[in-house]
């Protein structure tokens, strides 16, 4: 639309990229290189599972037990996970199987939290008018609790915990009473506006049973979201959860989540 667009990209680039910028770029690569490794490892784990799947071994839910790990320090709040989830699972607008929250904490302890459209469109800069000393993004999704209140409270056995450790909703049995939505302390469930049944994260069951990654994990560009299987020998996520200071959300609810957080700050609820 203007001359800027018509200009030769290469020359412009040479002009712009000063030495200082390049140095900064190098530092960034170093800092985030670790994440590239993390991602390729996740991919390697997946390849092993895919190999098994393609070798014609039928999926046995009794041989898997999944867990999820979120590294808060790596989340850049891009919302790629929310968009990928919505596309993969046909999530209706204004409802979320996963979302990203932004926390901004001031020196005096004022907490400003937001999640515009669940973080689906990313985040805009936000002026709180306060001296922000701590700010971070927190991805959220169903915690697939081992002691899940939603399954306990489902009157008809439509919500259940599968042998591989996932909380799922049988769309053909659900009566749409909404009790599970009330019971979930994490706000992970909603009543689907079209099916009128409870809907929630399935950890992309249709993908993971074929050896693929959940859409959100695959979409995460920084490795903030990781997916593991405690039954897989040498599983890295299992190892991190077993050996690192991880936290869970709302431990006072005693729901025993299978979604763990690294570097979670106490403001998060």
């Amino acid at each position: 639309m203007n001359e800027y667009e018509k200009e030769e990209p290469a020359s412009r680039r040479d002009f712009l990229c000063g030495a200082a910028q390049q140095a900064a770029g190098a530092a960034i690569i170093l800092a985030f290189g670790e994440q590239l490794v993390a991602f390729s490892e996740a991919a390697a784990g997946e390849t092993a599972a895919t190999a098994e799947a393609s070798a014609g071994v039928p999926y046995d839910p009794l041989k898997h037990r999944y867990l999820y790990l979120i590294d808060v320090a790596k989340c850049i709040g891009c919302g790629a996970c929310v968009r990928a989830c919505a596309l993969e699972n046909d999530v209706p607008d204004n409802h979320f199987r996963t979302w990203v929250e932004r926390y901004m904490v001031s020196r005096t302890g004022e907490v400003t939290t937001d999640s515009p459209n669940g973080g689906k469109d990313g985040f805009e800069p936000l002026l709180t008018g306060q001296d922000i000393t701590k700010a971070f993004f927190v991805p959220k999704l169903c915690n697939h609790c081992s002691q899940s209140p939603c399954v306990q409270l489902c009157p008809v056995g439509a919500s259940y915990r599968s042998p591989d450790g996932l909380i799922l909703v049988d769309e053909k049995r659900c009566i749409g009473c909404g009790y599970c939505v009330q019971a979930c302390p994490y706000g992970s469930r909603f009543i689907h506006p079209e099916t009128h049944t409870a809907s929630k994260c399935t950890l992309c069951y249709h993908r993971i049973t074929k050896g693929m990654l959940p859409a959100c994990v695959q979409a995460c560009p920084t490795g903030a979201r990781r997916f593991g299987d405690t039954q897989r020998p040498g599983d890295e996520v299992t190892e991190i959860v077993a050996s690192s200071p991880v936290r869970i959300l709302k431990p006072e609810m005693n729901t025993e989540p299978n979604c763990y957080y690294l570097g979670l700050s106490q403001e998060v609820r």
């Binding site: 929250e101 999640s115 009157p155 049995r173 994490y186």
Partner: protein
């Protein structure tokens, strides 16, 4: 560090999911349980002065029980699957007990009413002809035995059923309270006091409804109002109001005093979104005024004329019906106003007139039991004296 309320809601927590229909449900089951307790005061506890309302309260209980499931069906995303709750009841869920408790209670109530009215049914059958005779003969199950011996057996069974009905009514409504009280994720609902509060306010609303029905029915039937009956109902009602309000306040005072995490959301909730429906309607208008009015009836009995007593009791009962509705509203809607993020409030809930779960549906559902009662009254009078039960006879003797 303090968690200031900055208005963040979990993105799935935007709408109020449980609507006016879910307010109606505990309200109606409360009337069911409460009215039944009134009839049991006569049949089991021998309060003979309540004999004029024994039949009425039992029939009212049944009339409301028959529509108790309607608000739920209006609310469900898949009402056609509602029977799943009986086909595969998941008994770790309080809600799953619904089918069993409802069936049990309905059976008890129908049996009891059948026995209470059996003599009338048989007399009607023998007096009428054609279809009416056939219907009433079927209702009598083809047995026309109204000998003194048979009626004595009936009375004994009625007493047993009424006695069994008390725990059944308590379970029916206590379980509704438990359904809310056991949701640990919701700080406004989660308290062991919830079933007890529900139960007591249920008895309160049931009694108030029986008083109103009795006074109106007597006026329309042009029959004398029994002053002892009204005086006794007012006294019982006063007791239950005092106990209910005590527990409702106890819950708030405990929350306020302990100042746990939940108070961070509940205090602003009561100060803003629930200020009118809780503080004004439920506590000041709905509780204090009836306590004073009924207090006058109870304490100043010798100085009151019958019409004055009836009027005061009627007004107090009407206010209490509003109080209990406000209480259900404040529990059901209030509990959904704050997000589980504990740092933000949803938009206030205003039911629409014409939506599926809206005001018109609620009003229509609430009218049906009165239509049932009017129909019932046409064939089997509600004000007829109930047979004396064993307990009542003993008391008199």
């Amino acid at each position: 560090m303090s968690h200031a309320l900055t208005g963040y809601l979990f993105p799935n927590d935007v709408h109020i999911l449980w609507s006016l229909m879910i307010v109606m449900y505990p309200y109606i089951t409360g009337l069911v349980a409460g009215a039944f307790i009134v009839s049991s005061l006569y049949h089991v506890f021998g309060r003979t002065e309540l004999r004029p309302v024994a039949r009425l309260s039992m029939s009212a209980s049944l009339a409301f029980l028959l529509v108790a499931t309607l608000p739920l069906l209006f609310h469900l995303g898949h009402p056609e699957r509602s029977l799943n709750i009986v086909i595969t009841p998941h008994f770790t869920s309080a809600m799953a007990a619904f089918g069993l408790i409802y069936t049990l209670y309905l059976t008890l109530l129908v049996l009891e009413i059948w026995l209470v009215y059996r003599k009338d049914i048989i007399l009607t059958a023998s007096r009428s002809r054609g279809l009416k005779r056939w219907i009433f003969a079927t209702m009598a199950l083809g047995v026309y035995d109204i000998s003194e011996e048979a009626l004595r057996v009936d009375r004994r069974v009625i007493t047993v059923l009424a006695a069994l009905g008390i725990p059944a009514a308590c379970i029916l409504h206590g379980y509704v309270g438990f359904m809310f009280g056991s949701v640990k994720a919701n700080y406004w609902w989660s308290t062991p006091l919830m079933p007890v509060i529900f139960l007591f306010s249920a008895v309160m609303s049931g009694m108030a409804m029986v008083i109103i029905l009795y006074l109106i029915l007597m006026r329309f039937a042009n029959r004398p109002i029994d002053p002892d009956c009204v005086q006794s109902l007012a006294r019982w009602l006063w007791l239950f109001v005092v106990m209910t309000v005590t527990m409702e306040m106890l819950e708030i005072v405990t929350l306020a005093y302990e100042r746990n995490e939940e108070w961070v959301v509940i205090a602003p909730l009561l100060n803003t979104k629930l200020a009118f429906s809780f503080v004004v309607v439920q506590v000041v208008f709905g509780s204090l005024i009836p306590i004073l009015l009924l207090g006058i009836v109870v304490l100043m009995q010798p100085f009151l004329t019958s019409p004055l007593r009836n009027t005061i009791t009627f007004i107090a009962s009407l206010i209490l019906l509003i109080q209990v509705f406000a209480m259900r509203w404040n529990v059901v809607i209030g509990g959904q106003i704050f997000s589980k993020s504990l740092s933000g409030f949803r938009e206030s809930y205003h039911p629409q007139l014409l939506e599926k779960e809206g005001i018109l549906s609620a009003v229509l559902i609430f009218i049906v039991p009165f239509v049932f009662l009017a129909l019932f009254n046409k064939f089997l009078p509600l004000y007829g004296d109930a047979p004396e039960t064993k307990a009542a006879t003993t008391e008199e003797g």
